[in-house]
Symmetry: C2
Subunit: 493 residues, 2 copies
């Protein structure tokens, strides 16, 4: 049972006792500064359209040059910091929350989530073990189970399933690395922890997989020589016949396939690998199947897009990012596995100073054994705040609107014969190019970004330069997409 604490009558430090000589900011100052910063953030977000998405004049070193080269020798008032946020920071950032931010993938953020992050900082607890802050662990586990339900994910990822569970990672890169390490441990029956021998292990992902796959494999001692770049079909999805061919060749050569990453929504074009078929191949060969749905997995919050989960039933692990399309500010990647024993085998180490009765009883989760770092923040608060105060319905509405706007944009593009759409657009990313060629497309991206009126990023699809028009900011409406498109049209002359 939870005991509610006698919070009504606290022995207040600093009001009943003398002030600590080493506490510079009084509680009253914190309140006032905190209110001022809340106001400042509100004004920033509500007024964000007054800024260029990024100031095209900004040069390397400008921000640093505007700040003192040496640390201050005296305390400064918070007002001075707020002034610098306006004078130096705002002109020096890329405004990811800007409604005309069409670059990369979104990292959208909501008011509720910002308060979740504030609450986490205010509590400043460590969630490395259950005992170091039980609520930090238990709310996180519950949020992963809530999200399993909201996204319609397989039951075997739930924490109350026989072998699965979920955890919050900082990013999909970290989730991918954890999946690789779990796979490495399982394939070697744990021997890798002792001998470090990865020399026979081979991994597979498509040419379209995220760079974090190669990076994670490299870190885990699987070099590029043993990473197979599986070719893709005309929709940029993995060719399973090629996967089978490569895997067979590797087995024939005495190597051991151990890890496949399928992507649900690639970075270059939101293509979807055929996970159900890939899973059959993986299962037949005892290969770990990780599914990276960093961007697109959140679409499953809306029932009509639940097809983004196709094939997950047989996957060993999965990740998706509320910090991309759900308004939960970075860092919040959700990582699930159906084989927590392998993950724990790969990542747990128990020195004397971390032992606890709770952990030894097996009744609790110690999330430090589910990740690379030891320490961890109370990140589930921002997910909890967002689900409760923003509500899933408003997020569904946003996702639907972004998909509608992407389809609308595609219609506009098709009607302009100078442009072409170069990949399917199942969700909220449209890949386009100028028929004139690579140079024209590259130049268009560069000139569009130099206006500061919108921001796009470039990729390469089938050796062709491609402009990615990614629609995901919480503030983006039809007007912004139209403005962005008309900007491109005007510059394409």
């Amino acid at each position: 049972m939870l005991t509610t604490c006698a919070k009504g009558t606290p022995a207040r430090i600093g009001t009943t006792g003398p002030r600590l000589p080493y506490v510079s900011v009084t509680p009253e100052e914190f309140r006032q500064n905190g209110y001022a910063l809340i106001d400042w953030i509100t004004d920033y977000i509500e007024g964000i359209e007054a800024f260029p998405v990024i100031d095209p004049e900004l040069q390397p070193g400008d921000v640093r040059a505007a700040l003192p080269a040496h640390p201050p020798t005296a305390i400064e008032p918070f007002d001075a910091v707020l002034r610098d946020l306006d004078a130096v920071i705002l002109p020096g950032i890329t405004h990811w929350q800007h409604p005309n931010f069409f670059a990369y993938f979104p990292a959208n953020s909501s008011y509720s989530s910002i308060l979740g992050e504030l609450a986490s900082a205010g509590l400043s607890v460590q969630g490395m073990s259950w005992i170091t802050s039980p609520a930090c662990t238990e709310v996180e586990t519950l949020m992963l189970d809530w999200m399993q339900e909201l996204l319609g994910l397989p039951q075997r990822f739930r924490s109350d399933s026989a072998t699965g569970g979920g955890v919050i990672h900082g990013s999909a890169s970290e989730a991918t690395l954890a999946a690789i390490l779990a796979a490495r441990w399982r394939t070697t029956n744990g021997r890798v922890n002792l001998d470090g021998d990865t020399s026979s292990l081979v991994a597979y992902a498509t040419t379209q997989a995220h760079s974090s796959i190669e990076k994670g494999l490299r870190i885990a001692g699987i070099g590029l020589d043993r990473m197979r770049m599986v070719p893709v079909d005309e929709n940029f999805a993995m060719r399973v016949d090629e996967l089978v061919r490569m895997m067979t060749a590797d087995i024939d050569a005495g190597l051991t396939p151990f890890f496949v990453c399928a992507t649900h929504g690639t970075t270059s074009s939101t293509s979807f690998d055929p996970t159900a078929e890939i899973a059959t191949v993986c299962n037949a060969n005892n290969v770990w199947l990780h599914v990276d749905a960093a961007m697109s997995g959140i679409a499953a919050l809306a029932p009509e897009y639940r097809w983004v989960n196709n094939g997950l039933e047989l996957a060993d692990s999965y990740c998706t990012n509320p910090h991309k399309w759900m308004g939960v500010n970075f860092d919040c990647d959700l990582f699930w596995t159906a084989d927590r024993a392998a993950l724990l085998g790969a990542l747990s180490i128990l020195p004397e100073y971390l032992r606890s009765k709770a952990a030894e009883s097996g009744a609790v989760i110690d999330y430090r054994d589910w990740q690379v770092p030891l320490g961890r923040r109370f990140r589930s608060l921002k997910l909890w705040f967002t689900i409760r105060c923003d509500g899933i319905e408003s997020i569904q509405t946003m996702i639907r609107e972004h998909v509608r706007l992407t389809e609308l944009l595609a219609q506009w593009v098709v009607a302009d014969h100078r442009f072409e759409v170069v990949a399917p657009h199942p969700l909220n990313l449209l890949c386009i190019r100028l028929r004139e060629g690579n140079e024209a497309t590259d130049s268009l991206i560069e000139r569009a970004n130099l206006t500061g009126k919108a921001l796009f990023t470039r990729t390469v699809l089938n050796t062709q330069s491609t402009l990615r028009f990614s629609i995901g900011s919480r503030l983006t409406t039809e007007r912004h997409v139209l403005d962005g498109w008309q900007l491109l049209q005007s510059l394409a002359q």
Copy 2:
């Protein structure tokens, strides 16, 4: 030059236009909720002594059981969230900011730092590349250079040095992994990125080194078979003669020593390895020397403790944690290297969708290549806010007071013949035990923690159970240390 934006006259979204259907929380609600949360945090911190450090009655599952098993189907008001923070979260956490928190190492937090985290969440930008938010990169670089100056670290760690530079990592575990990967890359001349061959590599650290060293090595494909646990002397510091003996034996056996971790302030007892001597050995054998000063390095803010930096001149990399003893809330580990080329060689990957002119010019830093994840928050803001608004002087005063209290506590312990001090206490950790033996000491720790009046952790030194009395909370004063000690005395009967 920075262009100051016309922030005075923004085109306000949501006030001039219709409200977005998918934004549930209005700006006005955010302001009010934000003020309320600022008040709540102030009340929590100022009233923290009303709570047990951890509720000894709390059982696994209690927190989860107090919350709905399924996600809500309707939006809830922020008041409901605040009520749950009081009713469910506060009774369910371990209060790391409590002045009677003497467990682990501190993760202390200051009011200024909490606002830095709030500002970071409010801006919600990504700092993976310079171009994705120039200020995020440049303020971080500047803060690392400021800290080099404030801590008196070697010039060759500065970003404006020929070969060095610094970065914020989430934790020392991540910094250690980065150091291992850089070392692995340098020793293999980069071949490891292709062949993943780590089979000849050997690493060294003492029996007292943090578990993250073994974890980092394991992740990087250097299993326990090739990690040498170097014996320690009577002060728990590395025996350099043993290091030389082990390294020579490995070289004779055809292996390649590639990495040594020296610790400045071990977790079990704050022992200091003799880094200057170790560095001589490492340099002679082309071995990467990483120095882990996660807890103790921050002491160098006070000139009289600058001896904690001894030997760093020849180290290849170094880390220390403002989130432990400087009041910058987790996560804020500072990692410097004198060989950034090796770090970049180990961690950089450049797909098309991350290319930029700025990066290709070489004039900017892309911090994604200095860390495992791709994405990153604007974490330097909390360091910047803390240095400016708390000021270094107040932090120096706190550090001095904690060291004084540790010395005072040692005097009390020495005067009680039932107890003994079992290790040197150069800074803010006192390791003690009951002369009666291990069982009595274990029982004392357990019974003390069950009171909820203080929290201690246990370690083992020379096979003896040891109580760690770690003094590092920002709110801890002499009264709290005395209370903790008298609690131990009363239970030792």
